[in-house]
């Protein structure tokens, strides 16, 4: 849903009761640590709501009126501004309620996100451990709701994904367990599907691995290969698969070959010529941890596809992949090249 305010909506802002809109919408985000994630969406003028109605619910599916949300946002902005300039300070609960609605309207509202961080940090100095664990898990639940809903801007919001990573660092510092595999399946995969080529979602996956919150494993690799096969035009998913192979190859030398075989089989049977999968294959074929036999097979398949394809756009993708692989396969690994330069 676009942030833009259509003329009709802008004209309607002064009608109705903005405070009632705020009360109804903020109730959605009452602290919750378990239960199913909400499937949020925002509906505009194509789905008019009855007067005084700001939400539609069907189980976990919740539709929020765009008009109601904008009215609620204006109420929240006043609350936050008055708190920050000291004219009317608010308690933590009120700030969390207001900033939740602000982030639903505008996921890039950094002040709202940072206000939430400050509220949670203040609690760390005065709350007991069990209460702190509850409040931080509630924050995770809130973020997961926004990152996995059908909200086009939220699923790929750098502010929200950075906030999640900040939160997980806090989890680690407080000894609260993090289920990295669950984050991959229930948050990254879903956000990656809601918003294709989702750099921030897959960067979060890399964050989980680099921080040790998720251990690369055969099971994880299988899940990622399956996701990539089902989203074969998604270059971000393929990039993460390559990253994962790079992190698992030392513990399982046959993994690279098996993955290569699996992807090549898919490409051949479905005659895939999209750039995303071919960038993955050429990078893998050119990498030093791929065997010569697999690289030769890649080059052979690329050439045969060029011969049988009728489309010039496919030829461009395939030739580019072929040339890239031939160029970079022949080069020494980067570390060796640097050493050679220093010691000619």
């Amino acid at each position: 849903m676009s942030r833009a305010l259509e003329g009709e909506l802008a004209a309607s802002l002064k009608s109705g009761d903005p405070t009632a809109a705020y009360d109804a919408i903020s109730e959605l985000f009452a602290p919750n640590t378990d239960g199913d994630l909400l499937e949020l969406e925002i509906l505009g003028r194509s789905h008019p709501f009855p007067d005084g109605c700001y939400l539609l619910r069907d189980g976990c599916a919740v539709a929020v009126s765009k008009l109601g949300l904008v009215q609620a946002f204006l109420v929240c902005k006043k609350i936050l501004t008055a708190h920050l300039d000291g004219s009317k300070p608010r308690k933590g609960e009120e700030l969390l309620a207001a900033t939740a609605v602000m982030l639903l309207m505008d996921p890039e509202h950094l002040t709202a996100a940072n206000t939430r961080k400050r509220v949670l940090q203040e609690r760390m100095s005065s709350w007991s451990s069990p209460a702190l664990e509850t409040t931080f898990k509630a924050e995770k639940h809130f973020l997961d709701n926004l990152l996995t809903s059908r909200l086009h801007r939220h699923t790929k919001s750098p502010t929200l994904w950075a906030h999640l990573q900040w939160l997980l660092r806090v989890f680690v510092s407080m000894g609260i367990p993090v289920d990295g595999l669950s984050d991959i399946r229930k948050v990254v995969f879903v956000a990656g599907e809601r918003h294709p080529r989702n750099y921030y979602a897959w960067n979060h996956a890399r964050f989980l691995i680099k921080t040790g919150l998720l251990t690369p494993s055969e099971d994880l690799l299988g899940l990622v290969i399956k996701w990539c096969a089902g989203h074969h035009t998604d270059t971000s998913g393929w990039s993460f698969l390559y990253f994962l192979l790079d992190n698992t190859r030392s513990s399982s030398p046959f993994t690279v070959h098996r993955t290569f075989e699996e992807v090549v089989t898919l490409v051949q049977s479905l005659r895939l010529t999209n750039e995303s999968v071919w960038v993955f294959l050429r990078t893998l074929a050119a990498s030093p941890f791929t065997g010569d036999a697999d690289t030769s097979q890649f080059l052979s398949i690329a050439r045969s596809f060029i011969e049988i394809s009728s489309f010039s756009s496919d030829h461009d993708v395939l030739r580019s992949a072929l040339e890239w692989c031939e160029t970079y396969r022949a080069m020494p690994p980067l570390a060796d090249a640097v050493v050679t330069q220093r010691n000619p």
Partner: protein, 198 residues
């Protein structure tokens, strides 16, 4: 790879009649699913009506593709997909149409004038089974004789329409779409399309 709709239509009539159809719209939000379902039925009919007997077409429209295989018997299979290779979509259609015509005598279907009057439970199995990339891969391998060059490709639905016809006009006139669906179509068109570098 998603399959949103599979249907078998009588495209010897104008407008085409849906003999049997199934939607899989869990990708779409709860409160807009009906609008997408109606729109897909409408767009399936539009393409089927403009696919000649024996012809295969794949028509791109925004994020999805409408694939149609019209048999000489005056019956057409339609599948609406996202990120689904054409060869796999048409392989599914070949199998579907063979099964449908083997099971349903022409005399039993030619007189239908209202949508969804021919029970064909296998459609539900098809739409579930062929969501899986492995199943799509298997059927594409089996149907290797399918000549991809024979599939007529269109980059937009306007290119299958007659001169002067626009999709917006067809939507406005359509009896398959409610007023809400028509209003939703206008707003849904304006959604941002990003991250399409590759």
């Amino acid at each position: 790879m998603k399959v949103y709709y599979i249907g078998v239509l009588d495209n010897s009539k104008q407008p085409a009649v849906v003999l049997a159809g199934e939607h899989e719209l869990s990708d779409f939000s709860r409160f807009t699913r009906n609008e997408y379902a109606n729109f897909m039925t409408m767009i399936g009919k539009t393409v089927a009506e403009r696919t000649r007997p024996g012809q295969r077409q794949s028509v791109q429209e925004q994020d999805y593709v409408v694939h149609c295989y019209a048999r000489s018997e005056g019956v057409a299979g339609v599948i609406i997909t996202k990120d689904y290779p054409n060869i796999a979509a048409h392989s599914v259609l070949s199998k579907l149409m063979d099964e449908f015509l083997a099971e349903k005598p022409l005399a039993s279907i030619q007189g239908k004038t209202k949508d969804n009057e021919v029970p064909f439970p296998k459609l539900k199995e098809y739409i579930v089974k062929y969501q899986d990339s492995n199943e799509a891969s298997s059927i594409a391998k089996i149907q290797q004789e399918l000549d991809e060059t024979k599939i007529v490709l269109h980059k937009a639905i306007d290119s299958v329409l007659q001169r002067g016809e626009k999709l917006d006009d067809l939507v406005a006139k359509s009896g398959d779409l409610s007023a809400q669906s028509k209003a939703f179509y206008k707003t849904a068109k304006k959604q941002n399309s990003c991250c399409v570098v590759m």
